[in-house]
């Protein structure tokens, strides 16, 4: 029992209801907006003293003055006179609180008159219904932070069943940039989820899309923390350490040698791997990039034909001069060229059911993809991908798309998420749950704007992911600008410091004016939490993430400078065999064409053989040049006018 802090008051004009009550306190009581209190009734109901738990949502203070005019008169119009008043006016501190829970819950009655006290840790657990999932025999609690009040700290837990499914799932965080600690909160949440996800629920991994600068580039590096942060890790039982198992994936830059990521410092390359896809992978998701263009049913039919009949098979046709086996964009380009010149020779406008204009258009669109997604899409057919089927428990897979072009980003999102979905459905991903973290959600799932493939996919996770163990953690500055069903399906919603204009949007009208004021002034490390078990939003503090901040990381590990081809190749190969030297690389690649060097490099990276040096060298012996390869894609984005369907 703590000392009473206030007394419930109700009048005819402001009566208590089952969901709200008022109480007054001493002037110096530690109550504030967001404080959780307990009311002990005086009269037993059905033989039980009723208790109600509430959270303070509004505060009032006033004196016995009937009109401000009396105060002016009393001071002779001079505010300086107040220092001489020998008595302070009687003043009231009155609070309204929203009910969190009644015990017993039935019969549901208005909050009784009674004493109000600060909730103890045990009270908080009851008030937030955490007692239901923090039982010794079935503990699915994931600590999210500390609720602090009157010198008491209470750990607040989310229910894993409602955070990663199957009851509910997904988490969304909103708030202004740089102050809301959104990215930090998600990093912290992944750490606490990994530390507390119950064994009985299986395994969990995270796939994080790094969409902004160096945000997530140093998740495996330690941070400098303060004593208060460490204490919180200790209290909440989360190891105060960076993530133990992190793997990075990034496409190449246009030179196809160095990786397009801010984590390019040689010291850190050990767990950075190229993300490159070939024609097959891309064609499966062609619709992601093509649906924005004017691709009609005819073009679709041709693409389907290529996917089913041309790709990866012997293909012969009387119009073609030779047999084709299309495995890469380069092969496909050769196939188109052969086909179109064959038709020209014959003076024919049609091939099978396809018009020559459609053929030209599809060729244009597909070759555009390889240009627009240079660095991601390889011309030579080598694929370096996430370890589908081999995901590890408590591992973090960061896909760095921050420096990639928009098209490449879309393609990466679409394919990675679809693959996750596909493998989770088949239960052969390697883990049973995956948290997908997407920052800047308003960009990828905007409330308005055209329907895009990426948005459709995010909606699909939001609506069906919980049955599969596919969980979306998302963040954005303005929740009101995100598609309603994406955020609406997030069982858990966090709010950091909020912008006033955003708070004025209708979505926040359910919050009291005082709660909105509090949100507009939250300090770093404080969050408002909505969770299905909590009847009302709760305020918690969380510690700084135990991982290096992006901007500290880029200072501590400066980016590798752009380097000549041989140095770039050496850098990639050294990840596997540190004994390799620049002289050796120069000797091996000699005067070979760029094209061949890249093919060899990509093949080596894709296979990651035991003896990297020997494998790399052997690639050059195999080179027999069949068709002349097209010039390496160096063209800047969208050099072709988008509105000209026949441009080549």
């Amino acid at each position: 029992m703590t000392a009473p802090l206030g007394l419930v008051v109700a009048t005819e004009r402001t009566p208590n209801t089952p969901h709200q009550f008022q109480f007054w306190t001493a002037i110096d009581s530690p109550v504030g907006i967001g404080t959780i209190v307990r009311v002990d009734g005086r009269q037993p109901v059905d033989g039980h003293i009723p208790h109600a738990y509430g959270i303070v949502t509004e505060g009032f203070s006033y004196t016995d003055l009937a009109s401000p005019l009396f105060d002016v008169l009393g001071h002779d119009g001079d505010p300086g006179q107040s220092a001489f008043a020998p008595t302070e006016r009687a003043e009231v501190r009155l609070y309204s609180a929203a009910v969190l829970r009644h015990v017993p819950e039935e019969p549901l009655q208005p909050v009784p008159m009674g004493e109000v006290s600060l909730a103890t840790e045990a009270d908080v657990a009851i008030a937030l219904r955490m007692d239901g999932y923090l039982r010794d025999d079935a503990n699915t609690g994931i600590p999210i932070g500390l609720y602090r009040s009157g010198g008491m700290d209470s750990a607040i837990y989310l229910d894993a069943e409602f955070l990663v499914g199957p009851e509910a799932a997904h988490l969304n965080i909103t708030g202004v940039s740089g102050l809301a600690t959104k990215t930090s909160a998600v990093e912290w949440l992944m750490a606490t989820l990994f530390a507390h996800f119950p064994k009985s629920k299986g395994s969990v991994a995270a796939v994080c899309f790094n969409v902004k600068g160096p945000d997530l580039c140093f998740l495996d590096q330690p941070a400098e923390l303060e004593e208060t942060d460490r204490a919180m890790y200790e209290t909440l039982g989360v190891p105060c350490a960076p993530f133990q198992n992190v793997r990075y994936f990034a496409p190449f830059k246009a030179d196809n040698v160095s990786l397009n990521t801010l984590r390019s410092n040689e010291e850190l390359l050990g767990n950075v791997q190229p993300l490159t896809w070939g024609l097959k992978e891309v064609l499966q998701f062609a619709e992601v990039l093509l649906n924005r263009d004017d691709v009609d049913a005819k073009a679709d039919a041709l693409i389907d034909f290529i996917k089913e009949r041309v790709l990866d098979r012997e293909f012969e046709d009387r119009v073609l001069r030779e047999k084709h086996r299309v495995r890469s964009f380069a092969d496909l380009e050769g196939w188109f060229r052969d086909l179109l010149s064959g038709l020209e020779d014959q003076g024919s406008e049609h091939w099978r059911t396809h018009h020559v204009a459609t053929i030209r258009k599809v060729r244009n669109r597909l070759s555009n993809i390889s240009t627009r997604c240079a660095g991601l899409v390889t011309n030579d057919g080598h694929t370096s991908d996430l370890p589908w089927g081999d995901f590890a428990d408590r591992a973090v897979y960061v896909v760095d798309v921050a420096l990639a072009e928009e098209d490449a980003q879309d393609l990466i999102f679409a394919r990675v998420v679809s693959k996750l979905r596909e493998h989770l459905e088949k239960r052969d991903l390697g883990v049973s749950h995956v948290v997908v973290f997407v920052d800047e959600l308003n960009k990828y799932a905007p409330a308005d704007g055209p329907e895009t493939y990426v948005r459709k996919m995010l909606l699909d996770i939001a609506e069906r992911g919980r049955y599969l163990g596919l969980v979306l953690f998302s963040a954005q500055q303005f929740r009101s600008q995100v598609h309603r069903r994406v955020v609406g399906n997030a069982g858990t919603a966090l709010y950091g410091r909020m912008d006033g204009d955003e708070l004025a949007t209708p979505g926040y009208a359910v919050l009291s004016a005082a709660t909105r004021t509090k949100l507009a002034t939250l300090s770093k490390g404080q969050l408002m939490v909505r969770h299905p078990h909590f009847t009302q939003p709760i305020f918690v503090s969380f510690p700084r993430p135990a991982v290096m901040r992006g901007r500290d990381g880029v200072e501590r590990f400066p980016q590798a400078a752009d380097v000549p081809r041989d140095v770039g190749v050496l850098r990639q190969l050294r990840r596997f065999d540190p004994s390799l030297t620049l002289a050796w690389v120069q000797d091996v690649i000699g005067l070979h064409e760029d094209e061949d060097v890249l093919r060899a490099l990509h093949a080596t990276l894709a296979h990651a053989p035991d003896n990297v040096g020997a494998y790399f060298k052997s690639q050059f012996r195999k080179i027999i040049r069949a068709t002349p390869a097209p010039a390496p894609a160096r063209t800047p984005l969208r050099v072709l006018p988008d509105d000209d369907p026949y441009a080549i």
Binding site: D64, F70, G74, P86, T87
Partner: protein, 286 residues
């Protein structure tokens, strides 16, 4: 002059209170009363009366209740007439210690006439006497145990002990009885803010003798002549020290003109501490 004689000056005059206002009052005492007819026996009223008194003491500019407030509930019954209709035993059983007779014989053995309105007035008077008794009991207790300056709403002469205590300051807000007439009255009514009258000695019938003066708390310019005017009472003391002490107490009272006791309509004369005592009793006696 009525029941009064000069104690400071031979003829009453206006004096400017010397020095600046300083708060020195440590407590405020006031009482309240309420009565209502709860029934009739024949033509005779039964009155339920509540009287109460409280001291609000001040520490670091905050007021709080000192000791226990005194509250008394009684039923005022004209026993002499009612007994013709109801058995005494029944009344005593029903009302117990709350029973209060309003027809007790006076010294000459007479009892009030059986007039319902008159009896009603007697009852109200009885409630107000009870209130005064409670006030004085509290005041005596304060003066005996604390001995620090206390402002009492009304006169202090009803209790010998209080009237002789140097810590009690009586402040009379109503001027049903004026202790000045003729030129003297004109001087009192013309007092300016911060001015007081000469000290006089007053001894109404049945009350102890005290010293008293008029004091203007607020500027009455453009208001009625009694605006902001109070009459102060203190214990009798040696002639030489009267002026100085009257000025001192006046400074204390002038210091209490803030904060305003509004919205009480008597805020021009009422100290905030006295209002606080009334509000306290209003909130707690129901």
């Amino acid at each position: 002059m009525i029941d009064a004689e000069g104690a400071e000056d031979a003829t009453l005059r206006a004096r400017l209170v010397q020095g600046v206002p300083v708060p020195a009052i440590r407590a405020f005492l006031d009482g309240t009363q309420r009565s209502q007819v709860i029934g009739w026996v024949g033509a005779f009223p039964l009155v339920y009366g509540t009287s109460a008194a409280v001291v609000r003491s001040r520490t670091e500019r905050r007021l709080s209740t000192w000791d226990a407030p005194l509250v008394q509930h009684r039923v005022y019954v004209p026993l002499a007439y009612v007994l013709a209709h109801v058995a005494r035993g029944d009344l005593e059983r029903a009302l117990g210690a709350m029973l209060e007779d309003t027809t007790r014989p006076a010294l000459d053995g007479s009892i009030p006439a059986p007039h319902p309105t008159l009896l009603l007035e007697r009852a109200t008077l009885a409630v107000s006497r009870d209130r005064e008794r409670l006030e004085l009991a509290l005041a005596e207790r304060w003066c005996a145990s604390r001995g620090e300056p206390i402002m009492i709403d009304g006169g202090i002469g009803a209790s010998e002990a209080v009237a002789q205590s140097s810590c009690a300051v009586g402040v009379v807000k109503s001027h049903r009885t004026l202790y000045a007439e003729g030129d003297a009255l004109a001087i009192v009514l013309a007092l300016k803010k911060g001015e007081r009258s000469s000290v006089i000695r007053v001894a109404p019938r049945g009350r102890s003798e005290v010293l008293s003066w008029y004091l203007r708390l607020r500027d009455a310019e453009g208001r009625d002549a009694l605006w902001g005017l109070v009459r102060v009472e203190m214990c009798v003391r040696s002639r030489e020290s009267i002026s100085e002490r009257a000025d001192e107490l006046s400074r204390w009272l002038l210091a209490e003109s803030m904060p305003l006791a509004a919205p009480d309509p008597r805020w021009d004369r009422m100290a905030y501490g006295i209002r606080s005592a009334e509000e306290f009793l209003r909130a707690t006696t129901n």
